[in-house]
């Protein structure tokens, strides 16, 4: 883990309000453990916004690290204005990884909202390992998607408005996918309400799952204790340090 002043290679919009940034940091790449880990970026050096923003790693390729972010506030807006050759202040790599015990299970990857990076990262890993898997990505509308709906290739998109893919949520898509999947194990990332619905459904059907959880956080390394999520033992996990990946039974979204 290091604070790296990293050179930006590329920063571009890939779908409506969704951007991809690639930056160079051999130090972060050297320490990187796998899909699920994140970095924490500082969009600018003034103190109007004191806190770094956690962003999941979408890909590590040699010393090049890719993140995908959704523009929803002035900090992410500032990020979109950075150009190649600009520098960005990045802390990382942070957190744990998905536990990839794929021998026994058929992986189903689910991403929603801004929770796409770790899912894309995991999908690249599985592709490299030649493991067959299914991907489900949910969004409000077609313009927020940057993948193609392609059930023959095991890629299912869902949209709230039905403008592409399956009309409904990732739960509706998952119900379709499960009909044709033996020994499924779900790997999901997305907003709390999405994971909550997913958790209930998976529990009913006794399907194992790992969730990459999102949270506000100030430090990213367990010191501020800001990113607590309830565990099943009247206490809390810290998303940054104990996670962000948890077994679905270990965390509560109530």
């Amino acid at each position: 883990m290091i604070i790296s002043k990293s050179e930006i290679i590329e920063n571009k919009q890939i779908a409506e309000g969704i951007w991809q940034m690639i930056f160079k940091s051999s130090e972060i790449a050297d320490d990187y453990l796998g899909a699920g880990q994140f970095v924490s970026v500082l969009a600018n050096s003034n103190w109007e916004h004191p806190i770094r923003r956690p962003m999941s790693i979408a890909e590590v390729n040699d010393d090049k690290i890719s993140i995908i972010y959704k523009v929803f506030g002035s900090v992410t807006q500032t990020l979109t204005q950075l150009k190649s050759n600009d520098c960005i202040d990045v802390l990382g790599p942070l957190g744990n990884t998905f536990n990839v015990d794929f021998d026994k299970y058929c992986p189903i990857l689910i991403g929603g909202g801004i929770g796409l990076s770790p899912i894309l990262n995991l999908s690249q890993y599985l592709t490299q390992k030649k493991i067959v898997f299914t991907t489900i990505i949910g969004a409000k509308s077609a313009n927020e998607h940057f993948l193609q709906h392609n059930p023959n290739n095991f890629i299912f998109l869902s949209t709230d408005d039905g403008s592409v893919g399956i009309h409904g949520t990732i739960i509706d898509a998952l119900n379709i996918v499960l009909k044709n999947t033996d020994n499924p194990k779900v790997f999901a990332c997305g907003p709390g309400p999405m994971l909550f619905s997913l958790q209930n459904m998976l529990k009913d059907q006794s399907i194992p799952a790992q969730f990459s959880v999102e949270s506000y956080m100030a430090c990213g390394i367990g010191l501020c204790q800001g990113c607590a999520i309830p565990n099943n033992n009247n206490g809390y996990h810290l998303v940054c340090k104990d996670g962000p990946v948890f077994d679905a039974t270990e965390v509560s979204f109530d």
Partner: protein, 306 residues
């Protein structure tokens, strides 16, 4: 070479740049890239008698030039702290001050006594009478001069180590509390703890923090902190450790001029855990450039208009 040696009570610190409670853990579990050897001291997160899980989320949110937090004194409890953390302090190359919190006077005393028995590797205690995020104790004590005086007098009987009292700004007149704890035998005052604040999410029509009210920190509160430090400095003679939105050496100099003897870096650590070291280097440059040979020449040297 500038002299940065900072004396509080009978303890000499290598410099006046400390890290604030709640922003540096217990000081033992920092990432490798952090160098604590240049810091004057580390203040631990608050230790209570029993362990505390803390408040439900959301616990933190950014605000303009600051952040709100309501952690709720999450900590491992004094016994586990003594067993698992204290032994590591002999290997940490800076001074350690343990922050203590409690719900009752008895709890503060119990925690202090447990620590006193094994306190070889710490230099003192910072008493948190100012946490805005717990139901009992904390700020209830810190807003009342008489109760603060009774608590600190009692704690004074049990230790000869540094006894520093961390005050809340959420009072009508902070100087009354400061005087009361000085009279009780405190060695120094830390000012300020966070300012009570609130945020609202208009989409959800909910507070941004689970407990509704939370503690505001960061550059947003620096003017409040400077005013409090300056007011206190007029009334008391023990040292003041200034806290509140310090992010660079200019901020440090402002607090020194206002009357602080040392400072604590808080929120800035969340952005960069080496903030204290970076600020110290900046401060050294400032002092050299201005031919100030002992940083203490700046303490309280504010030129007022009248």
């Amino acid at each position: 070479m500038t002299n940065l040696t900072c004396k509080i009570g009978s303890v000499e610190f290598r410099n006046p740049i400390f890290t604030a409670s709640g922003t540096y853990g217990y000081g033992n579990d920092l990432p490798e890239f952090v160098d604590v050897s240049k810091l004057g001291a580390i203040l631990t997160k608050s230790i209570t008698y029993e362990k505390r899980a803390g408040n439900p989320p959301p616990r933190i949110v950014e605000t303009p030039s600051g952040m709100l937090n309501s952690i709720g004194l999450a900590n491992i409890g004094v016994k586990k702290f003594i067993k698992e953390v204290m032994p590591l302090y002999q290997n940490i190359d800076t001074k350690i001050i343990v922050n203590i919190a409690g719900s009752t006077n008895e709890e503060y005393i119990k925690v202090l006594k447990e620590l006193e028995a094994v306190s070889a590797d710490i230099v003192g205690y910072e008493i948190n009478v100012s946490c805005p995020n717990v139901e009992h104790g904390g700020m209830e004590l810190g807003v009342n001069a008489i109760l603060s005086n009774i608590l600190i007098s009692e704690l004074r009987k049990h230790t000869e180590k540094l006894l520093i009292v961390k005050l809340t700004p959420n009072v009508t007149d902070i100087t009354k509390i400061a005087k009361a704890v000085e009279d009780a035998g405190a060695d120094a005052i830390s000012a300020i703890n966070t300012v009570v604040g609130m945020g609202i999410d208009i989409e959800k029509r909910k507070p941004t923090i689970y407990k509704t009210f939370a503690g505001l920190s960061g550059p947003a509160i620096k003017p409040i902190a400077l005013a409090m430090v300056h007011k206190i400095s007029k009334i008391i003679s023990i040292p003041i450790i200034g806290i509140g939105g310090i992010v660079n050496s200019k901020d440090v100099v402002e607090f020194l001029l206002a009357g602080a003897t040392a400072v604590q870096i808080g929120t800035a650590n969340f952005r960069n855990l080496n903030a204290g070291t970076i600020i110290l280097d900046e401060l050294n440059n400032y002092l050299n450039e201005n031919e100030i040979f002992n940083y203490s020449e700046l303490i309280g040297k504010l030129n007022l208009y009248e």
